[in-house]
Each structure stands twice: as structure tokens, then as C-alpha cells.
């Protein structure tokens, strides 16, 4: 009996010890699989659509004849203009980050610049109040679709008049003449004199949907980088993701003013960029009206005043305004 009980007892204690271990095992030892990172979508290849062979013509700057004089609001019967008048303001597609041409003033929150003043002049002519504007900030690539869809009445956003664009939209007469130049980081050797052709293997940025990009793609050597806007290009440059930016000298002046580590090279402009106000293709009457406004601005010295207000500092005093070409 005692032998049995002692045997059993011994067995029992072993069992209890083993069971105890099992219990301990039950308490601990849950480890989780490592949290997975979300699958990263492969970065989109920088979409630089192949350069389309631009249709050529000789009258890219030719617009419609201006109205003989500005009619009063009541006299206007054109359907498109009546719509604007009954709406009470002109919807204008502008840039908010093209320093000096159309840029948001961080202090007032308002958008201002040379292009904005042109739009204000149109609003003033129609409504007698330059503030009757709805400024709609758009990217360069938005300009033509928004005009075609009548989302905006007018585009005042350093827009180059080209033969290709004339097929899709209308333009006012030329109100500013610019040219495409290059802005580079001062860190590049011989920065001040570099031309696009010297930038072989360097990353050069231009905004998508611009003539600057088309031109850049035609130059052999540079690696093309695109961004939504010129300022987007400046950010890429500041972040070391681009070495140079190409664009209209006026735009580049605005970028250079924001970053003292960059310089606009002395290389000759590779293009001539006549700026026009973009309009819907069928708004011929509006184009003639706007051409009258521009002609009046140039005649009464207001154009020079606007130029000096924005561009005198970086580009020197106002030259003579571009000669408008009419008769389209």
C-alpha cells in the first residue's frame, strides 16, 4: 500500500510539474507576423509625350481685327459675351505660381502679376470694375481643354500663340513677347553661359503641356524631366532632382528671384514666344473686344505701366509693346 501510494505520489508530482509547464506555455509565447508595408505603386514614368511635329504657319500671331471702339454693356449682343455679362464676372484661367506674371501673394492671399493685370483690364472694360473676375488657377496642361469646355472664358497664363493651338482655340492679339531660355543651378561649371545643347546628360525640367517642353524634347542631349508647373520644376531643382529648368525668360526671372542659387544663362533665347490671351475658338467677337482693350492699353501708356510694375526690376524698363497683327 505505502509502496503504491508513494509510487503514485511520485508520478503525480512529475505530472503536476509537467502540467504546470504546459500552463506556463499557455500564458506566453504569442508572436505576431511583422506588419506588412503597403504595396508601393511603381512610380509613373515621367510622362514626356513624344514631341508632335508642330504644324507650321507664318501667322501664329495674327488675331482678329479689334472692335472700332468699346461698346457699352447694353450694346453687346454676342451670346458668349452676354453670358459673361449676366454672370457678372469673367472667369479667367490663371497661374498662381508664375512669379511676376500670375502668382499668389502670400501676404494678401490674392493673385497678382502682369497676366492678372491684363485680365483685370478686360474686366474693367466690361464691368467698369477690374475686380469682377473669377480667377481660376489652372496648370499649363489645363489651358486648352478648359477653354474648349467653356470652363473658363479666358486664359491669361503666359500662353504662347502657336499655329497648332490656333486649331483648338482662339487668341487675342499678342500682348507680350518672350523667349525660351535656360535657368541653371549656379553649382554647374560655367553656369552663367550654358545653353540647352551644353546640358548633355543633365536633367532639364519643363512643365508638361508647354511649348517649352516641346522645344526641349527637340534638343538632343538633356534628360527631360517634367513637372506640373514651372514652380514644380523649381522645387525639383531645389531638391536635387533636376539640374536646370527651361522656359520663357519672364517665367525664369520669377523663379530666379525666388532662389539666389540659380542663374538665367546668357545663352540667346532659342524661341520667340508671343503671348496671347487664350479664348474659345468660336468667341470671335470676344477676341475682337479684347483686342480693342489691349490696343487701348498700349495706346494710353497703361501697358507700359503694367510692365514696369512687374518686370522693370528684373528685366529693365518697358520696351515698346509688341506690334499686334490683325486680319485673321
Amino acid at each position: 500500500m505505502s509502496a503504491l501510494t508513494s509510487t503514485l505520489r511520485r508520478r503525480l508530482s512529475t505530472l503536476v510539474a509537467v502540467a504546470g509547464l504546459g500552463v506556463l506555455a499557455g500564458c506566453s509565447g504569442v508572436t505576431y507576423a511583422e506588419t506588412q508595408l503597403p504595396a508601393t505603386t511603381a512610380p509613373k514614368p515621367s510622362s514626356s509625350a513624344p514631341a508632335v511635329a508642330a504644324p507650321t504657319c507664318t501667322n501664329a500671331t495674327q488675331s482678329y481685327d479689334p472692335l472700332p471702339s468699346l461698346p457699352s454693356r447694353g450694346e453687346i449682343t454676342d451670346a458668349s459675351m452676354r453670358k459673361i455679362i449676366s454672370k457678372g464676372y469673367v472667369t479667367v484661367g490663371v497661374s498662381a505660381d508664375t512669379y511676376l506674371f500670375g502668382a499668389r501673394d502670400p501676404f494678401s492671399g490674392g493673385i497678382q502679376g502682369f497676366d492678372i493685370d491684363m485680365a483685370r483690364a478686360v474686366a474693367k472694360a466690361i464691368f467698369g470694375d477690374p475686380g469682377k473676375l473669377q480667377l481660376r488657377v489652372i496648370t499649363a496642361g489645363d489651358r486648352i481643354p478648359l477653354l474648349q469646355d467653356r470652363e473658363v472664358d479666358m486664359v491669361a497664363r503666359n500662353m504662347t500663340m502657336t499655329c497648332a493651338r490656333w486649331k483648338d482655340i482662339g487668341f487675342s492679339a499678342e500682348y507680350y513677347r518672350s523667349g525660351q531660355k535656360v535657368l541653371v543651378s549656379k553649382a554647374l561649371p560655367g553656369a552663367a553661359d550654358l545653353a540647352l545643347t551644353d546640358l548633355e546628360g543633365r536633367r532639364v525640367c519643363a512643365p508638361a503641356g508647354t511649348t517649352s517642353l516641346t522645344k526641349l524634347q527637340q534638343v538632343k542631349g538633356p534628360v527631360v524631366v517634367t513637372a506640373g508647373t514651372h514652380t514644380g520644376c523649381l522645387v525639383l531643382l531645389q531638391q536635387g532632382k533636376a539640374d536646370a529648368i527651361t522656359g520663357d525668360d519672364t517665367v525664369l526671372a520669377g523663379l530666379a528671384a525666388q532662389d539666389p542659387n540659380t542663374v538665367i544663362t546668357s545663352a540667346k533665347p532659342i524661341t520667340v514666344e508671343p503671348y496671347g490671351l487664350g479664348l474659345n475658338r468660336s468667341d470671335v467677337y470676344l477676341a475682337r473686344y479684347v483686342n480693342r482693350v489691349i490696343a487701348d492699353l498700349e495706346a494710353d501708356g497703361e501697358w507700359k505701366a503694367i510692365y514696369n510694375r512687374w518686370l522693370a526690376e528684373p528685366l529693365g524698363p518697358a520696351p515698346a509693346p509688341p506690334t499686334p497683327v490683325y486680319g485673321r
Binding site: 501510494t5 503536476v16 503597403p38 512669379y99 502670400p106 473669377q134 488657377v137 523649381l234
Partner: protein
């Protein structure tokens, strides 16, 4: 968890024959000398004949009792630790959701401050910094709390740093009056949503999954089936013994069975209680905390999207669409949580303000739209949104705290019960030994 069962064979004496060769042999008197040949001889002698079978079955009975005790105690402790892990995982969900909320809150403040133009107010700067500080400490706390999240949170920390750097670049450029500032801000906001938020969402999802798993694991009654089988074995032993000895009641053995039955019942009751209470929490406060956190994030995202829509001046259609998605998310989240009438009212007040902001902007009155969007006057978008944000955050924090506290309390009594059950099993073992021993004695 099932460790004890694997140890059964250990308890069976080595070389023990099944007890089958009972019968006629070995009628020689038991002598001391007979035990000399060694343990094997002893074992054979002990297991020989009906007393031998009694000994063997007695031993199996003890094993069954210990097994029942071990399994019960283990199930109790497992339930308790599962609830504890559920609490920890829920706490982690809450923690990471707070990071999500604060990131979007920071962005809402930063973008709205940008909208005002000029220098941001000291108040909004303080709110931005407060949110980012909470994000930083939240990431560290979350990484410490769940090592499995460590890698993801490391990447998140890096992305958040990028975001903060871009916001500061936007801010300093803005102070200089340079439009490139707006570009940096856009890049910051876009990057935040594209690179950082998905990681946060992933970590939340992983921890929700873990919490759910533990909620389910807290019901370990399945393990008790082994206990039930043990009990049936003991009853079979009692019946066999009764038949063999023609003595129907063995008080010790019956007592052991009763004791084990009670232990098993108590264990099952406690475990079911824990599991029911856990389920109540998971369907009550926990679900509410999660839903309200989602409401808060969607609300703050909506607010940032309102600002971004205005900043983009007419090209913010994508942001306004995002605002509408956010609104749907908030509405759905609020509908899911009961007792949220107050919240729904305050959210509606903000929605009304936003609709006015949009109609002003769409009507060409951008300046007035901005004024209303940043207005801290009664009815202004800033006032109504902040009121909603404060209220929903409060409610959510409360639900989260209750969840974690309730869960932490739930398993509290389990270790004590487990200890008592283990003691009961030992006592039962002793009773079995006594009861069987008594019969063996009588048989002789």
C-alpha cells in the same frame, strides 16, 4: 496550449504490460525476495491480477484528474492572456489611429493657415506643432508597444519627417513671400496622403486583425473537452470498480468525481463569462472607439480638402470630390455609433458652413469663401469644425479608454480560479488514490 496532453505517455510505467495477462499464474506467496529482481518485477507484481488492474486504473484515474486540472487551469490562463493581448492590440489600434488623426489634423491646420495668407497665427502654429509632437511620441510609443509594427512605423517616421520638412520649407518660403511655398505645401499634402497615410492604415488594419484574433481566442472552452473526456473516464472507473467489488458507493472516488465536476463547471463558467464580456466590449466600446476614430480622421481630411480646394482656386475639383467622400465616411461612421445625435448635429453645422463656402467660391466670391472657411465667428467653418473635432475626439478617447480598461480588468480573477482548480484536481487525485487503495485493501 495543449502541452499537458503530450506528456501522458511519460506517466505510463515503462514496460508495463497492458494488464491483460491476469489469470491463474503466480499464486506464490509474496516475499521480500520476490521484489529483488528489480523494478520490472515490481511493476509486474503490482499490476498483476485484479488488484493490479485496480492499481493501473487508479493510476489512469489520477492521470485523468491531473489532466482535467491542468487543462482547466491552462484554459483559464489562456483566456486571461488572450484578453490581455486583445487589450494591448486594441490599445495599439487606438494609438495608431491617434497618429492618423493627428497627421491629418496637422495638415488641416497647415493648409488652412496657408489659406489665410501672410503670417499664420500663433494659435494655429501651436496646434500644428502640438499635433506633430503627438505624432512623433505616438510613433515611438506604438513601436515600443508592438515590435511587429516596428519596421512599418520606422518607415512611417521617415515619411512623417519628409512631410514636416516640406511644410517647414513651404512655411519659410511663404514668409519670404515666394510662391514656391505653395508648391512645397501641395507636395507635402500630396506626399502625406500618398506615402504616409497608407502605412498608418496598414498598421491599424494589422492590429485590428490581431485584436479580433484575440477576441476569438479568449473563448478557450474547446480545451475543456479534454477535461470532459477525463471526467467520463473517471466515471467509467467508478462503475468498473463498483461492478468488480459489488460495493456501489465509493465515497472517496465519488467525492473526487464531484470535485472535478465542480472544477470543470466553474472553469467553463469563468471562461464563458470572460468570452461573453470580451465580445460585448468588442461589439460595444471597442467598435465605437474605432468608428469614432475613423470619423475623426475623415473629418480632418475633409477640412484639409476644403482648404486645398480653395488654395487651388477653381482647380480643386479633385479635392472637393475627396471632401464628399470624407463626408460619406463621417456620416456612415456616425450612423454606426449610437448616442451620437450631438455629434451628428455638430458635424451638420460644419457641413452647412462648408456648403456655404463652396457656393461662395463657385459664385466667384473666392475672398468671401476664404473668409468663411477660416472664420472663427459663430457659424464660421473654423468654429463649427473645431467644435466637432473637439467633441468627436473627446467621445472617441472616452470609448478607447473604457475599452482598454474594461479588457484589462476582464481576466483579473482567472489566475486565482486557475490556482483553485489546480488544487481541486490535486485533492481529487488524492481522493482517487485513497478510494482505489481502499478497494485494493478490501480485495486482499
Amino acid at each position: 496550449m495543449s502541452a499537458p496532453t503530450t506528456n501522458i505517455p511519460v506517466a505510463i510505467p515503462a514496460g508495463a504490460s497492458s494488464g491483460a495477462p491476469a489469470g491463474q499464474a503466480n499464486r506464490t506467496p509474496r516475499t521480500i525476495a520476490g521484489s529483488i529482481p528489480g523494478a520490472r518485477g515490481v511493476a509486474e507484481r503490482l499490476l498483476h491480477g485484479t488488484p493490479g488492474r485496480m492499481r493501473l486504473f487508479g493510476l489512469l484515474g489520477v492521470i485523468a484528474a491531473v489532466l482535467l486540472g491542468g487543462v482547466s487551469a491552462n484554459a483559464l490562463l489562456a483566456s486571461q492572456s488572450a484578453v490581455e493581448r486583445a487589450a494591448n492590440n486594441s490599445a495599439q489600434v487606438v494609438r495608431v489611429q491617434s497618429i492618423h488623426v493627428d497627421l491629418l489634423r496637422a495638415d488641416a491646420v497647415a493648409t488652412n493657415a496657408f489659406l489665410v495668407g501672410g503670417l499664420e497665427s500663433a494659435d494655429s502654429r501651436a496646434r500644428y506643432e502640438g499635433a506633430m509632437a503627438r505624432v512623433a511620441s505616438g510613433i515611438a510609443a506604438a513601436a515600443a508597444a508592438q515590435p511587429a509594427d516596428g519596421k512599418a512605423l520606422g518607415v512611417l517616421a521617415e515619411r512623417v519627417q519628409t512631410y514636416a520638412a516640406l511644410v517647414e520649407q513651404a512655411r519659410s518660403n511663404n514668409r519670404l513671400g515666394l510662391p514656391v511655398g505653395a508648391q512645397y505645401l501641395t507636395q507635402a499634402s500630396t506626399g502625406l496622403r500618398a506615402d504616409a497615410i497608407p502605412i498608418v492604415a496598414q498598421v491599424v488594419k494589422a492590429n485590428e486583425e490581431r485584436a479580433r484574433m484575440e477576441f476569438e481566442r479568449s473563448n478557450s472552452t474547446v480545451q475543456l473537452l479534454i477535461g470532459v473526456v477525463s471526467l467520463i473516464g473517471l466515471v467509467a472507473l467508478a462503475v468498473w470498480l463498483a461492478k468488480r467489488t459489488h460495493r456501489y458507493l465509493n465515497p472517496s472516488l465519488t467525492g473526487a468525481i464531484a470535485l472535478l465536476l465542480v472544477a470543470l463547471f466553474v472553469t467553463a463558467t469563468v471562461i464563458t463569462g470572460i468570452s461573453t464580456a470580451t465580445r460585448d466590449v468588442s461589439r460595444g466600446d471597442y467598435e465605437r472607439a474605432v468608428a469614432l476614430a475613423n470619423v475623426t480622421t475623415a473629418g480632418n481630411d475633409a477640412r484639409a480638402n476644403e482648404s486645398l480646394t480653395l488654395i487651388k482656386r477653381g482647380s480643386g475639383a479633385a479635392n472637393e470630390a475627396a471632401w464628399k467622400t470624407n463626408r460619406t465616411a463621417v456620416d456612415a461612421g456616425l450612423a454606426k455609433t449610437d448616442q451620437s445625435a450631438e455629434l451628428t448635429r455638430s458635424w451638420q453645422a460644419y457641413v452647412d458652413a462648408h456648403v456655404k463656402v463652396r457656393s461662395l467660391d463657385n459664385g466667384g466670391r473666392w475672398d468671401d469663401a476664404v473668409k468663411l472657411s477660416t472664420s472663427t465667428a459663430p457659424g464660421g467653418a473654423a468654429t463649427t469644425f473645431d467644435a466637432f473635432d473637439v467633441a468627436v475626439t473627446q467621445d472617441r478617447d472616452q470609448a478607447a479608454t473604457t475599452t482598454v480598461a474594461t479588457l484589462k480588468d476582464l481576466g483579473g480573477s482567472a489566475p486565482l480560479v486557475a490556482f483553485i482548480v489546480a488544487l481541486a484536481a490535486l485533492a481529487a487525485s488524492w481522493l482517487i488514490v485513497r478510494g482505489v487503495g481502499q478497494r485494493i485493501e478490501e480485495y486482499r
